[in-house]
């Protein structure tokens, strides 16, 4: 949920309750006020009628509401003595509407000329139903109006206020630690945002710094390892030429040499990876992928033949682009090696050109974990591989602005370079 909608939702819910309670109170207050004023009116009318009756006794003969809004009937002194004025709601048949309508009625007694009379005064009443309906709709409109105003104003003001925040968010979204670029911060008067910018700047600088030093560390460590590795390998090579060694010792020596050579390859791969990530290989030249791949395939043919793997090349299209040829070679050879290395013996590795991609496929039984295969030392279980081949491929592809995608379809692992 968006920050803006979040607060608006809260406002909407709270307003329903607040307005509801307020409407109830308001309704009863108003009703009370209306009754009050109606009763005052009735009282006043009663006085007028009584005064009129004192001047003109014919008024006392008013027995029906036809001529006015009152009736007067004689009553006994006993009844009159204990009588108090009463106001009540009742219904009365209205000629104009041909139905019963609610009226307010005042009943009272008065004395004139020794006799007691009962007087009933009526006044038409505001229809309560109508009042309720009116009130409800007024409140509804008020509610909608308020919500709309709040949403609009909220959006307007909040957006204005939160602008530095959203800008920062957008920039953070685009930020990538591998790319060597700084984040620009929006000038703001709001203290919290100033603090946020400052903290994020601090954090990012720290991360970039540690990322860089980590890269440098890997590169330096790899460099420093080269000489001791060279010394050990060469020493063993010289030692192996020693005729005094028994075949058994020779074999042991071979194993040590093999391990050291593996270490060398691993080291070289790490070095290559940090070099790619350190933005070397920036040269741009025309790369013709078809002959490049053909050449690399021919270099791998003996290796493949030894594993009883056939490499088939489908060159239906020509693909060219510009970039570093060295990187292109590294990318293709890693993918090809990976396919030859992991495919079961006796199967076929296919390299296929389509109009905007090159696919390397080999049969397999189950898909690989897409998230893991491109991470360091995650992709391989075979002891003979460095575990960096696909990581390097991914790094190269990113460096060359190509997309490297893995798919598993129809029992085949497919790595595709998309142009």
């Amino acid at each position: 949920m968006k920050l803006l909608n979040y607060t608006t939702t809260y406002f909407a819910v709270i307003l329903v309750f607040l307005l509801g309670i307020w409407a109830l109170i308001f309704y009863f207050e108003i009703l009370d006020e209306i009754y009050d004023s109606m009763d005052d009116g009735l009282d006043n009318q009663k006085m007028l009628v009584i005064r009129k009756a004192r001047q003109d006794s014919i008024t006392l003969k008013q027995r029906a509401f036809e001529d006015g809004n009152y009736i007067i009937t004689p009553t006994s002194p006993d009844l009159a003595r204990g009588f108090t004025d009463s106001y009540r709601d009742t219904l009365m048949f209205m000629e104009n509407e041909l139905e019963y309508e609610p009226v307010r009625l005042l009943e009272s007694v008065f004395q004139q000329g020794g006799s007691f009379y009962k007087i009933k005064v009526v006044t038409s009443m505001v229809e309560e139903d109508d009042l309720q309906k009116e009130l409800f709709f007024s409140l509804l409109w008020l509610y909608i109006g308020l919500i709309l105003t709040i949403v609009l104003l909220n959006n307007f003001f909040q957006q204005k206020a939160w602008q530095p925040f959203y800008k920062l968010l957008r920039r953070l979204e685009k930020f990538s630690i591998e790319k060597d670029e700084e984040i620009k911060y929006e000038d703001t008067k709001i203290h919290e945002f100033q603090l946020l910018n400052k903290r994020i700047d601090h954090l990012l600088k720290k991360s970039v710094e540690s990322y860089k030093s980590q890269k440098e560390f890997i590169e330096n460590a790899s460099h420093e390892l080269q000489t001791p590795l060279a010394v050990s390998i060469n020493k063993l090579e010289l030692m192996a030429e020693n005729a005094d060694l028994s075949p058994n010792q020779m074999e042991e020596l071979g194993i040590v040499l093999h391990s050291l050579e593996r270490l060398t390859r691993l080291n070289k791969s790490l070095l290559l990876l940090s070099r790619i990530e350190n933005r070397q290989f920036t040269e741009k030249e025309e790369i013709n992928w078809n002959p490049l791949i053909k050449q690399i395939v021919s270099e791998f043919n003996d290796f493949a033949a030894h594993r009883k793997v056939e490499i088939i090349l489908f060159e239906e299209v020509e693909i060219q682009n510009s970039g570093s040829k060295d990187l292109a070679g590294i990318l293709v050879s890693n993918l090809l090696k990976n396919a030859i290395f992991h495919t079961p013996s006796g199967t076929t590795v296919e390299v296929k050109f389509t109009h905007n991609a090159i696919h390397f496929s080999n049969p397999g039984s189950s898909p690989l974990e897409k998230k893991k295969i491109f991470s360091r030392f995650k992709g391989t279980e075979k002891a003979d591989a460095t575990g960096l081949g696909l990581t390097i491929s991914k790094a190269v592809a990113e460096k060359m602005d190509l997309k490297l995608i893995y798919n598993f379809t129809t029992e085949k692992h497919i790595f595709s370079i998309h142009f």
Binding site: V231, N234, E237, L257, R265, L271, T386
Partner: protein, 225 residues
């Protein structure tokens, strides 16, 4: 043939000295920039193996000095810093080759010999071992003056082993040299065995006076029995 090794790492220097002396070269090792400068000033060398990172100076400066003074010594840069920049810079300054550490002894021999071969302007481009003659430029191999038909890989293997005659050549050294830049990412070099097998058969069919001996677990050795 005189070779100067400029390398600050003692064991590295020693290894290179031992292996090159075994190949019959006269080797002088020095450990520092200053020693190197004074040696170069006095003697002529056929080949200089030059480490770039020296404790008291940059190896590339030595190279610059050599070229400024017009010395004709061949220079092979030997560097642990396998960086493209250094390689390009070194070759631009006039180095003959660039060999990143770690390398195989067999590769060092091959590079040194290749550089020395190139120096001999009118020298023969022929390589002879026993009754086998290799014409380097035309990739021709003759046994007893009869041409031996080899494919490209077989030729490269044979030539590499001949350059390292009587020396142990490890499988990975051979694979990296013959099968190129990309193959070194593979970890299993058993595939070269079939090439060796074919080569052996062709050599023995032609009654060549050389023999490729397998050194179990490590590699091969070319012998003249």
């Amino acid at each position: 043939m005189k070779i100067l090794i400029i390398e600050d790492e003692k064991d590295m220097r020693h290894n290179m000295q031992v292996t090159l002396e075994k190949e019959g070269f006269l080797v002088e090792p020095v450990a520092s920039y200053q020693d190197a400068i004074s040696k170069i000033g006095v003697y002529d060398y056929d080949c200089i193996l030059l480490d770039i990172t020296l404790p008291d100076g940059n190896g590339l400066e030595i190279l610059k000095l050599l070229k400024e003074k017009g010395y004709s010594d061949s220079v092979i840069i030997v560097s642990a810093k396998d960086s493209l920049d250094d390689k390009v810079k070194g070759l631009e300054l006039g180095a003959d080759d660039y060999l990143p550490k770690p390398f195989h002894m067999a590769e060092l021999h091959a590079r040194v010999k290749a550089v020395l071969r190139r120096r001999k302007l009118n020298g023969s481009k022929l390589f002879e071992v026993s009754n086998v003659t290799i014409e380097i430029d035309s990739h021709l191999v003759k046994v007893n003056h009869r041409e031996l038909e080899l494919n490209r890989k077989e030729f490269d293997v044979l030539f590499y082993l001949c350059t390292n005659r009587d020396r142990l050549v490890s499988k990975s050294a051979l694979a990296e040299h013959v099968w190129g830049d990309y193959i070194d990412q593979t970890d299993n070099f058993d595939f070269i065995y079939s090439q060796i097998k074919n080569l052996r058969k062709k050599l023995s069919d032609a009654n060549a006076g050389i023999e490729i001996k397998a050194v179990y677990g490590i590699g091969y050795k070319l012998l003249v029995p």
